[in-house]
Symmetry: C2
Subunit: 334 residues, 2 copies
């Protein structure tokens, strides 16, 4: 077979042209498909373009593209109470047979009678007691297995969904979009670090080493069958409010470029992030959708959004109006 | 121009064949060129092959390939005292004009008279005092700049080298080799986390978020010109001995596959790493080269290697005989 080499070359170039165009078109498919067109979506796209376009004056090298996400109320729902508290209450019930004394001891007595409100009336002290008896006293590996078993089966009392099905589809797209632009995505949550790590990789694509959270102390012990880390009933670190920049500094060691939250607990994280010398981005998810999710802000005991909303408006941080900015809340049922 | 298409194709395939062969050959170039052939080098190559070959029964998925490295004595030298202590002493001298009271106050008085031995005679308490006055009382950003300035200029009293020139060339190759096999490499050091982070990325290719170390507490403060993190004169965490598995669990959240150390301070890290259910690897750098570096183990006050050497032999961990296993110690002068 003979062929005109020039024509062959033209054909070859044509092939690559089509290939390139196809790839470009695939890349151009809307990465935030569950976001309605509007200011929130536009601000995200503009920020990412600004820090990633090589000839942009705000270009940021790959290694420094760090984005931090609160979890409760930012990546998944948090009403009518933090999902980790549902976990703790289920654990109290599971452990009750080994603790006959709980029948006459608050907050456990009320809890076991099904009166959650009464049990939590003891405030922070009651919650701390519940967390300690359910989160400490076992090895890290045992706790991980307990969380895995619970998260695979427990269902939300209102929606009947698995808790991991109550993650926000628009935020899953945002995480993926940032990673496709070479951002390293971290969770920085007031929730327990070891409560999140067993499932964040599968659900959010965020590996354990990129999860920052509150923690209790652990202790290395050499046992007959080998070394273990034992979880102690003692607070190590509270990763909330002023604690979030501290946790970020401790775990990440550099200032994020972008931070995403939904409550006053995220205020200092966003302040810290947006105080950097480079281009930066702060975003608040405002829960405005009482129909598809929940609507709450200033008056809520869970995820109160008050000061951070005022500051977001004053500083021009992006505010997501959940009802109007999100086409869907949760991922489609599988 | 006309050309026989079949011949053209053959030529094209030939070109790709040569290209492929060239790449393969480049990849086959010895990744551990500064290691002498011997048991230590062989054991590293065999371990990596075992966990990375797709059809190996010990194959480990990419995300779980975590390797942890001690720093002092494992990645760089640590004699005649930890390099961070040289930093602290230099800072005492720099700060002395602002502290006239130090002239009559130990350990500072002896230090300022050049009598380091006398100053450190106060043991841990004296060292802690020196560390606190030199490492706390400024913002995290100010401290980072102080470290950057020092590490760029300070020189080792014996070798006259920059401290970052006293890193081990064979270990640099090992870090690179592991990363080229999709390992994520972490530092897990008794040294200060914020003393290491400003330079580990450039020197070791290890980014700040993959550095675990000892730390003092920090505090978020909103100042007139924005938020800062202030370094407090209070120990937060000691990442040594039993602390290393705790630090690994806190920062990484999964058990390493391989751990590299040189002293009893690394014993628990290697115990923890090698107790995992999968293939694992533990390595001890034994300082045996009094000519090119230093020779010390059981009797040394810095980097004592006693129990970990006994256990390494009993458990079959790899022991690097620095004198015989390493062709060179430090990278060639630039």
């Amino acid at each position: 077979m003979k062929v005109n080499f020039k024509n062959f070359l033209i054909g070859l170039f044509g092939f690559f042209w089509i290939l390139t165009a196809t790839i470009a078109s695939a890349l151009a498919a809307d990465p935030l498909a569950s976001w309605n067109d509007g200011k929130a979506k536009q601000s995200i796209l503009e920020f990412v373009e600004k820090v990633t376009r090589p000839d942009s004056p705000d270009f940021v090298p790959l290694a420094e593209r760090i984005a931090t996400f609160d979890n409760d109320g930012t990546l998944w729902s948090e009403q009518p109470m933090y999902f980790q508290l549902f976990f703790a209450l289920d654990r109290v019930k599971a452990l009750a047979p080994q603790h006959p004394e709980w029948k006459n001891q608050e907050p456990f007595a009320s809890l076991l009678q099904g009166n959650v409100k009464q049990a939590l009336a003891g405030g922070e002290k009651a919650i701390l007691e519940i967390v300690m008896v359910t989160h400490a006293g076992m090895t890290t590996e045992q706790f991980e297995q307990i969380v895995r078993d619970w998260i695979a089966t427990a269902r939300h009392p209102k929606t009947g969904k698995l808790y991991t099905e109550m993650v926000y589809q628009p935020m899953l797209e945002l995480l993926k979009y940032l990673r496709s632009n070479d951002f390293k995505t971290f969770i920085v949550s007031g929730g327990g670090i070891e409560f999140m790590r067993p499932w964040t990789e599968k659900v959010y694509g965020i590996p354990p080493e990129q999860v920052v959270g509150s923690s209790i102390k652990t202790k290395f012990e050499m046992r007959d069958d080998g070394p273990v880390l034992v979880r102690l009933p003692e607070i190590n670190f509270i990763d909330d409010k002023e604690g979030k920049p501290v946790g970020i500094n401790s775990h990440i060691g550099r200032r994020p470029l972008a931070a995403f939250g939904n409550s006053d607990g995220d205020l200092q994280m966003i302040q810290w992030t947006t105080a950097g010398p480079r281009a930066h981005f702060g975003l608040i998810v405002h829960h405005t959708d009482s129909e598809r999710e929940w609507a709450y802000d200033r008056q809520s005991h869970i995820g109160r959004l008050d000061k951070a909303l005022v500051e977001a408006r004053a500083k021009g941080w992006t505010i997501v109006d959940m009802k109007n900015d999100w086409k869907v809340i949760y991922p489609p049922a599988k």
